[in-house]
Symmetry: C2
Subunit: 334 residues, 2 copies
């Protein structure tokens, strides 16, 4: 594994987030750019509602930057639906070169990594990265149709209804900016977890592997960062990550947070927290980008986490590999 | 859209292909590196057979180059299964940074584009690109379980049981090499096709869009290339591409071929031809790379084609967007 330090001044220069109704009532609500009171976004299926979130966030991110779609050199994007169709249909109207990704819930970080590499190559000026998920489309695909009214286990997380779109470009040297200064794509770690209702446990070892490798390669420690943010480990996975790091002598303190615990208010009873491609995408595009310039944050690590299972591999009793990709944001040149 | 001309001397320095039994009896048979007489590759499910193909091709490509997995900086890979699990489990044992892709049957070209961008960034020495598909895992996921014995329509194509792995690296200036000298990622084109048994028709307009854009941007014509190769348009899609190009005054002559018509022998009765992520991957990694150095081919276009549908979007009566990414191979520096 090898941390990439980008030589080009890459930044997220515009971003937008769309969320569902429960998310809007939660911690992220005041920061989202748009929401749907019935989670449908005007569509007549949950899948097309997710599509509409993707379309709206790209559109909003472009409008905020006062750009037309032609300014985007490439769209790098994905979601959780089979064959990533929410993203494909959502990106279709923009008529730009399109690269579909599947990184489970790590997709947003994966897109930031690839988008930054694309800009680093020197050939591009702007890349658009999106990731989305929808509670209702995910439940019926991964678990049970909502109409069944199934109970969820205490370890289960609630898939975020939300999408985030980020426009990456070359920074014009006016700090503060939300720079993508480094990235470390992770390897899969399979710790033998087979419980599809405990994804935090499946993903935490991969998050630990990437984060500890990053600290080792960069010769830094948690104290060196204002915020260390995992994607969607949830309550159980976040505790496990703290333990796995402590085992290696690395203490994650108050600077460590998990996006899965920052979307919903604890009173909303979503069991072990939030999850889904939309979780970290909404947190970064909706919240972090908005507060960035005026906040005391100047050096932040995002570790996008994903569980690489499918309903079929669960039925076939396979273990669940986890993956985690690290992105480092900085306010000024490092 | 914008064609990228790579400044770094990027080449496919090693490749390997695995195929199933019918493929082995077809045109590609003599060139594949390994095959399974029962399509199972020693696994007890079709999905794990596909996984095993991915694993074996990466392993073989590394062995041919006399490299250990640690030489790979990043694996960029995907397949057609829900949540791309064949690729995840197949790449898992190599323990390298892993980036999952979903580009439907355009995945191999998508991976070559991203892998080349990664090398172009200057941070990497070697990237591994794989794509795979399996007739039996695809049939039960996209259409019907084989046990039903359903008849297929004349426009249907047969999903290739096959995987290809390519190792991309920086060329050490000893020509001839299989260089990746240019790439043009495509945009989605939705022409309103809703027949999931006629993917050639859904993909041909995207192939035409990318190919015609490339000719226009590069100020070249079909005559300038020794071979123009689409991914898996099949008989119907390939004819349609010829027509769409002719409408714009561009004549595709004998230099034009479709991988979907080069895998099986016509006597094998696979209706409109071959398809699947494995189709172009097997053709390029199994055949093209093997004959490359001693062949008269010196300038070749690959247009990886994909149909961005899912069984659910078909049930919901959505149209099928197509996509096509172009990769230009050259034998010497251009």
């Amino acid at each position: 594994m090898k941390t990439i330090y980008f030589q080009q001044p890459i930044e997220i220069f515009s971003a937008a987030a769309a969320v569902g109704s429960l998310e809007n009532e939660g911690l992220i609500g005041p920061f989202a750019d748009t929401h749907s009171p019935d989670d449908q976004f005007g569509a007549n299926t949950w899948e097309m509602a997710e599509t509409e979130m993707v379309r709206q966030t790209i559109d909003l991110a472009l409008k905020k930057a006062n750009l037309s779609p032609s300014a985007i050199d490439v769209i790098l994007a994905g979601d959780l639906l089979n064959q990533c169709t929410a993203t494909a249909y959502g990106a279709l109207p923009f008529h730009r070169p399109y690269i579909g990704l599947y990184g489970a819930c790590s997709t947003f970080a994966e897109g930031l990594y690839l988008g930054s590499l694309a800009l680093e190559s020197g050939h591009y000026k702007a890349a658009c990265v999106t990731a989305s998920s929808h509670f209702s489309s995910a439940e019926r695909q991964y678990r049970f149709p909502l109409e069944y009214g199934c109970q969820r286990t205490p370890t289960a997380q609630r898939t975020v209804t939300g999408a985030g779109a980020a426009l990456l470009g070359l920074c014009e040297k006016k700090d503060p900016a939300m720079r993508v200064c480094a990235a470390l794509p992770g390897r899969m770690i399979d710790s033998g977890v087979t419980d599809a209702n405990n994804m935090g446990a499946a993903m935490a070892p991969a998050a630990a592997d990437t984060l500890l490798t990053y600290f080792w390669e960069s010769n830094t420690s948690p104290d060196d960062y204002d915020l260390i943010l995992t994607g969607d480990l949830g309550a159980i996975g976040a505790d496990l990550l703290r333990e796995l790091c402590a085992d290696k002598g690395v203490t994650l303190g108050n600077e460590y947070k998990d996006c899965g615990l920052e979307i919903f208010d604890p009173s909303q009873d979503v069991h072990a927290g939030a999850s889904g491609c939309g979780c970290s995408a909404v947190y970064v595009c909706g919240y972090l980008k908005k507060i960035w310039n005026d906040s005391p944050l100047s050096d932040v690590l995002l570790i996008g986490t994903g569980a690489l299972l499918s309903p079929l591999t669960v039925q076939q009793n396979h273990t669940i590999p986890g993956i985690a990709h690290l992105i480092r944001f900085s306010k000024t040149e490092i």
